[in-house]
Structure formats: structure tokens, C-alpha cells
């Protein structure tokens, strides 16, 4: 097992508009990317509790060209509305960094 932070090159988050948060996990080499993509550890049931959403609100899209996996979830609070803590959504990647995957 490894945490994504130890095997990925990039783990980042950002707004996709004011209503969604989109997270990208990008890998240096094709082999690690394919192992993570195919192991099934990044799935809606694993991601939903990290971001306080339901399974069916999680979209996961592998993007082979960039050796990346994209995860999009609705924001808990609209960007910049009362109660938001991260207007750009740029510091919400940490739970994902710590996600464990069965890849060494």
C-alpha cells in the first residue's frame, strides 16, 4: 500500500466554476498511472466521505494522455459565499493525498 502523495507527481484541487471542485492526480510514469487507474482504489465510495458528498455525486475520469485521474465533486459551499473557507478551492486536496492505494 502507498499513499497517493508518495507515488504521484501532482495532487491538486481547484474550482471548476463556482459550484464544483475538481481534483487532479497526475503521475510521472505510465506504469504507476496505469496501476493506480486499474486497481480500483480511486472509486466514488472511497472519495465521497473524504469530501462530504454522496457516491453518485463523485465523477472520476482517467485521462491517459496526461497520465492523470480527474475527480470532480460538488462544492459544500458555493465559491465565495458565506461559510466558504477556500474561494479558489486550491487547498482541498489533502484528504486525497492521504488516500491509500494497493500500489508500491
Amino acid at each position: 500500500m502507498a499513499k497517493l502523495r508518495d507515488i504521484a507527481r501532482v495532487v491538486r484541487g481547484k474550482n471548476a466554476g463556482a459550484l464544483y471542485l475538481t481534483l487532479d492526480v497526475m503521475f510521472e510514469d505510465d506504469e504507476t498511472y496505469r496501476k493506480v487507474r486499474d486497481c480500483g482504489a480511486i472509486n466514488p465510495r472511497a472519495i465521497a466521505p473524504l469530501y462530504g458528498v454522496t457516491d453518485n455525486e463523485v465523477a472520476i475520469i482517467p485521462f491517459d494522455m496526461a497520465k492523470a485521474i480527474k475527480i470532480t465533486v460538488p462544492r459544500r459551499v458555493r465559491s465565495g459565499s458565506a461559510g466558504d473557507t477556500d474561494v479558489y478551492g486550491a487547498q482541498q486536496h489533502v484528504p486525497l493525498m492521504n488516500l491509500e492505494v494497493p500500489v508500491s
Binding site: L19, R78, G83
Partner: protein
Amino acid sequence: MTTPIRLMATSGILGYGFTEEAFNQGLAMKPDLIACDGGSSDPGPYYLGSGSAFVSRAAVKRDLGLMVAGGMAHGIPVMIGSAGGGGSDAQVDWTLDILREICAEKGLKPKVRVIRTEQTKDAIKAKVRAGKVAPLGPIDDLTEADVEDCSRIVAMMGPEAYQQALADGADVVIAGRGTDAALYAALPLMKGADPGLAWHVAKIIECGAQVVEPREGQDCVIGTIYDDHFTIEPGHPDRRSTVTRVSAHTLYENPEPYRLKEPDGTLVTDKCGFEQLDERTVKVWGSRYEPSDKYTVKLEGAKPLGYRTVFIAGVRDPILIGIMDDFIETCRGRIARDVGVLGIKPEDYTLSVHQYGKNAVMGPLEPEADAPIHELGLLLDVLGRTEDISRAVLAKARYAFLHTDFPGRMCISGNLAVPFSPSDMHVGPVYEFNIWHVMECDDPMEPVRMEWLDL
């Protein structure tokens, strides 16, 4: 189309800057268009709501000045999209004011086409009544009351008005809100370029030097469209575009990387090929554009929520840090009483207490919620119905946090390290995005108004 069409994006956002070296090299490549998008909703609803810019006037003047002078000297049209950030009339006017100053100082007399996309409440209400407005994501259906609440509403136009402006012979185009890619796709589309390639090259260069290495801030990027492919290269001679950066770019800020919605169709990139042509140039092919049967524009609107006053202080006392959550509740009770005697009711304000160092960024989602801490940054955030209420509540809150007793208290002369005098920061009006919808249009020019600027 047999002649290549060359587009220069000077920067990701007008005012984020670019190097003169890259700009001059780009000019030497004889581009057909010099453009820069001014817009983003990323900095949040305040800028659209208040009609103000999130970049400085000085920075816009510098960027726009170089672009207009360069374009005029070489006979190349210059276009600015989503002027002033939100693309509202006030933000377009702010940009036009800067342009006037540039033209006066440099002795330039460009023909300037102004495109406005701010919408009237009546027009949007009529669309709501006609059932032509739908949510764009997890947000409620739009009501006429929501529209009435709005300070400003803009429509994100497609390429048609830009094309009209170019056909009219404009030297400079200053436009309201449009899609980032429409700014760059307009010219190649009107010259007959393949729509898939035109939209894809536009989508890649609209963020400027995002696709350039090394990452040393914003800079110019050149996209060149040929019959069956396009190329991406940096303006700057010492920088390079790479397959990794260019192919990864459709990931950025998009909910999905393969399908990018535009007003009259969808750019599809799942069958694209990327090749490193030389050290600094990337070749791309295989992009497709699927036309849609309806013409839809995104609507963005922001409504006022009230007025914000904030206060920052540090807490180092270990006894207080240990019982901080209880202490905050005690203070909340005291503040409610203290402002109550001023005639301020609970529904007149909200007080949020952010504990930086203790889950302030992720709140209930924080994976390391119980990590030990020795110092806390407290941010008191008051959102009041009026400016006076906001200031009054914050002032009482500051006093309460500074001087309220807690069990075991030893620091009886004060609970907070206050870094500034004055301590209370008056942020002013606060807004919320309350329109984030799509609207069906009868005609692409329906949400657009155009005028000539009298210099």
C-alpha cells in the same frame, strides 16, 4: 483554408503580465490576432457583484498599452475578452477608460469596437418565464425573485460578436463577458478553419503560459492553425511548450477533460494526438467539434449579502487553546447580549470564527483534526445587514474575545495577540453568486450590444 492562421495570447489574464521579449518575438511571427482574456470567476463573486477589477489599473495599462501599440504598428487587431474580470458594463467602462488614457499618451487613434454582454433584469426575467433558463450544476432553478436580487448579470457570449467586430474593421475590441475560448476561436472560425482545431487551440492558449516551461509567471503563447493540425509554442525564445503541459491543459479548471461546452457545441478531445515537433513546439491534431441544436449562453450573476468586517489575532496561551471551542460559545452568548442592547438582533448578522491552525481550511473534512497545536490564528468574520451593524458587532466581538474569563485563566489582562492598530478591517459589501445558469438564445447576437468608442 490554406494559409496558416496565427494567434498570440499575451497572458492568461489581462494585467497578469508578459515579457516584452516574448511579445516582440510573437509580433515578429506576424500573428493574425493579438488577444488577452480579462476574465475569471475564480476570485469569487465580489468582483462581478461590485463591478470592480481584481487586477490593478497599472498592470492593465501596461499590458494593454503594449498590445495596442504593437497591434497598431503592425496592423494586427487586438481583442480583450471579459474586460475587467467579470465583463460587466462597469468593468468594460473601467477598461475603456484605461484605453483612452493609453491612446492619448501614445497618440494612437484605433477604431475601437465595444461589445457589452451585461443583461437587464427584465430580459432575464422574460427568459425565466419562457422556460429558457436552466441550472448549470447543483443550484436551484432560477426565479424572477433571484434575478431581482442580483446586482449584475452577464451572459458569456460565443465568438459571433467578435467576428462582427473584426468584419467591421475594428483595430481594437473591448468585450464584456465571453467564453475564454470564443475570444481566440472567432477569427480562425470566420476564416474557415476546422472548428475542432479552432476551438481546441483557443482553449489551450487562453490560459497563456500555463502550457509553457519553465513556469516563471505569465507570458505570451502562440497558436498556429493549419489545415489538419495546430501548433503551440511560447513567445519567449528561452521557454518551451511540452506535450505534457499541452495535453494536461484540458484538465485544468474543467469538470471533465474530454468535453468542453461552448455556446453552439462541444469541443471533444478524446481522440487527440500530441507530438513534440521540436524542443519548444507541440503539434496537436484530432480535435472535434460537435455542434448542438440549441444556442445557449452561461449566465453569471451576483447578489449582495451584506457587509463584512474582520479581525485577526493570535492565541498562544495553552490553557485557552485547550478550551477554545467552549470559549467561543461563551463569547457568542456575550456578544449577542452586548449587541442586543444596541438594538441589533440575531438575524441582523452572522459571526463566523475561523481557528487557523485548527481545521479552519477543511472544517469537518479535516483528516488530521486532532493534531496538537501550540498557537492559533483567530479570524473573526462578521457579515452584517448594514455596514454600521457589521462594524458594531465586530467591535463588541473583539472586546469579548479579548477580555472574557475562562476556566483556569491566568492571562487576565488579555486573551489575544492583536497584530495591528487599527485592528478591525472593514471589507465592505459582500456578494454571492446566485445566478449560475444557462440560457437559450434565439440568436447568438441576442445577449450582445455593440458600439463604437469615440476617442
